[in-house]
Amino acid sequence: MRIVIAEDDALLREGLVLLLTGEGFDVAAAVAEPDPFLAAVAEHRPDVAVVDVRMPPTHTDEGIRAAVTAKRTHPELAVLVLSAYVEQAFATDLLAEGTAGIGYLLKERVGKVEEFLDALNRVAEGGTAIDPDVVAQLFTRRRDPLDRLTGREREVLALMAEGLGNVGIAERLVVTEGAVHKHIRNIFAKLDLAQSDRTDRRVAAVLHYLGIGT
């Protein structure tokens, strides 16, 4: 899998390169600024771009804007954005482009290599990866209708919002796929959401219900 990295902090950039090449990924380019990043995407046509939110010149949301631009010009590109802190507005901006092949994670998740690689693969395959902290924030905003769900159902909903499929959810919660399936049916019924068996549509529906994404 070919990857382009945009991260302005030199040590972290090198760390990411070290980790990803060690895992057998092909890191085509690792750059520090938005413009070279867009150039590298055009040149190397990577499968995934890993982008830091804060980059020069103003260190605010250059990374989000560069990711959105790259996604528009290369719709098949998957983008995984790394953020120093949870900012729902960033996730909202990013997911305005749709949920396919989009990820938004806190930087420290990279340390949990298994989960990080899982998210990277999911995004590369056209799926979604949303940071658990972002999902938790979305949950607090819609507390009332979510109170109708059982605790286990809320866990399942959160993992769906993170972008996990049935298998992934079953693994995390250590239950059978059949049980996950039953929980999901209940959740959709309680929240009046249209059922769908396709994971990507389901993630989009859940995120839309929680207030981000289209």
Binding site: D9, L12, E14, G22, R54, G111, V113
Partner: protein, 407 residues
């Protein structure tokens, strides 16, 4: 009582200084007034108002040092360019006629007060000590004040007693002269009664807004340096340690460079954190107090720096921090830009305020506009209702004076 008299005497001597200036300014005004009859004087009115303000401001600072609350009342500082705009602005300012009235009183009555206050004790001292040295005088010069001849021992003793009596009267009189001098200044140099409160409210609002802005900017700076600095380094540690762990299983040789990176990143994170903490509250200030912290700043300055620390009393921490950062910034500028060969720092209580003065013999041209480190210091100082005065003509020397109210 004698101590109070000495304090009054000191103030009268200071007042005598401004009274001489007021006298000189008054003479200038008279010339300008005459010149106005021919029209050309109009060009000089605006500079004369500025000069009057200069003398009045000096007097205000003197009174503030004596512990009296005298606010600067001007609405437009400095006066606009151009003689016509200058006159218009001066006329619109309620403080202008009050300044002029004060100038008239201080140049006459104030001058007399000062002269009496300073020279009468000297005259009395001369008479008290007369018996000690009158015989050393040539016979035709043996006289008391007002040229009254005193040529015998009994007369000399009597004269000494008269001098002593005069001195006692003076000890009672001098504080009154001092109060007299301050009373009309307090009446005329403060803002016009009608604008005092609104002016003060506006000023307080502005400084509070400044304080909030400075506070918010400070928080943003801390947030930025934590997120983009220390946190990034720690994430790099986490990532490289994770990479090393996974490399250990496959190819242990590749784990070593990753661990080296991780250690480097962890050390940088520590350095970043130290930097952030130092920016919030310098640990040396917490450990060794303001004088110790300033001593270490002066010792660390590459330009030889003479440090004079007066009485500090018990200062609020926020005042100490601001004073510390002022000196730190000033010395950094001196080391980086001034080309100075020596610097002086003076810190001490002056009345109810902490006064910080940094002087160098460098090339001057320092500014407090946007972008300079002194801008941040000015905001910090003004947020404390303090004042920062920077004089730095091209060619030097540069003097930064900061007054921070301690109450």
């Amino acid at each position: 009582m004698v101590r109070a008299t000495f304090a009054s005497l000191e103030r009268l001597a200071g007042g005598l200084g401004t009274a001489f200036m007021a006298f000189f300014t008054l003479i200038c005004w008279i010339f300008v007034a005459v010149a106005c009859l021919f029209g050309v004087g109009l060009l000089l009115v605006s500079p004369m108002v500025a000069m009057t303000r200069g003398v009045a401001e000096r007097e205000r600072r003197r009174l503030r040092r004596a512990g009296l609350e005298v606010m600067t009342p001007y609405t437009v500082i400095p006066l606009p360019q151009g003689w016509r705009a200058g006159i218009r602005a001066a006329r619109a300012d309620l403080a202008t006629p009050r300044d002029l009235r004060w100038l008239g009183v201080h140049a006459t009555a104030g001058l007399i007060c000062g002269l009496l206050g300073v020279f009468m004790p000297l005259a009395a001292l001369r008479e008290i000590t007369y018996p000690l040295w009158w015989q050393a005088l040539p016979p035709d010069l043996r006289a008391a004040n007002f040229n009254i001849p005193v040529t015998t021992w009994p007369a000399a003793i009597v004269l000494s007693l008269v001098g002593l009596a005069a001195m006692v009267v003076l000890i009672l009189l001098i504080p009154r002269l001092d109060r007299l001098q301050a009373s009309y200044a307090l009446r005329l140099l403060t803002p016009h009664p009608s604008i005092d409160l609104s002016e003060r409210v506006a000023r307080l609002t502005a400084t509070r807004a400044d304080a909030l802005r400075a506070h918010a900017a400070e928080l943003r700076r801390i947030e930025r340096s934590l997120h983009d600095g220390a946190q990034n380094r720690l994430v790099a540690v986490v990532v490289t340690v994770a990479a090393a762990k996974r490399a250990l299983n496959r190819d242990p040789a590749r784990a070593v460079p990753a661990l080296d990176r991780a250690q480097e990143a962890a050390e940088q994170a520590l350095a970043e954190l130290r930097g952030v903490v130092r920016g919030i509250l310098p640990p040396i200030l917490a450990d060794r107090g303001l004088d110790g912290a300033l001593g270490s700043l002066a010792a660390g300055c590459p330009v030889p720096c003479a440090l004079t620390i007066g009485e500090l009393g018990h200062l609020p921490l926020s005042v100490e921090t601001t004073a510390y950062f002022t000196v730190a910034e000033a010395l950094t500028n001196i080391a980086k830009h001034s080309g100075a060969r020596r610097a002086e720092v003076e810190v001490g209580l002056a009345g109810p305020s902490l006064r910080v003065l940094v002087r160098d013999d460098g090339m001057g041209g320092a500014r407090t506009d946007a972008g300079s480190g002194l801008t941040g210091i000015r905001h910090r100082v003004e947020a404390h209702d303090g004042t920062l005065t920077l004089t730095s003509p091209e060619g030097g020397p540069t003097v930064i004076e900061v007054e921070l109210p301690c109450a």
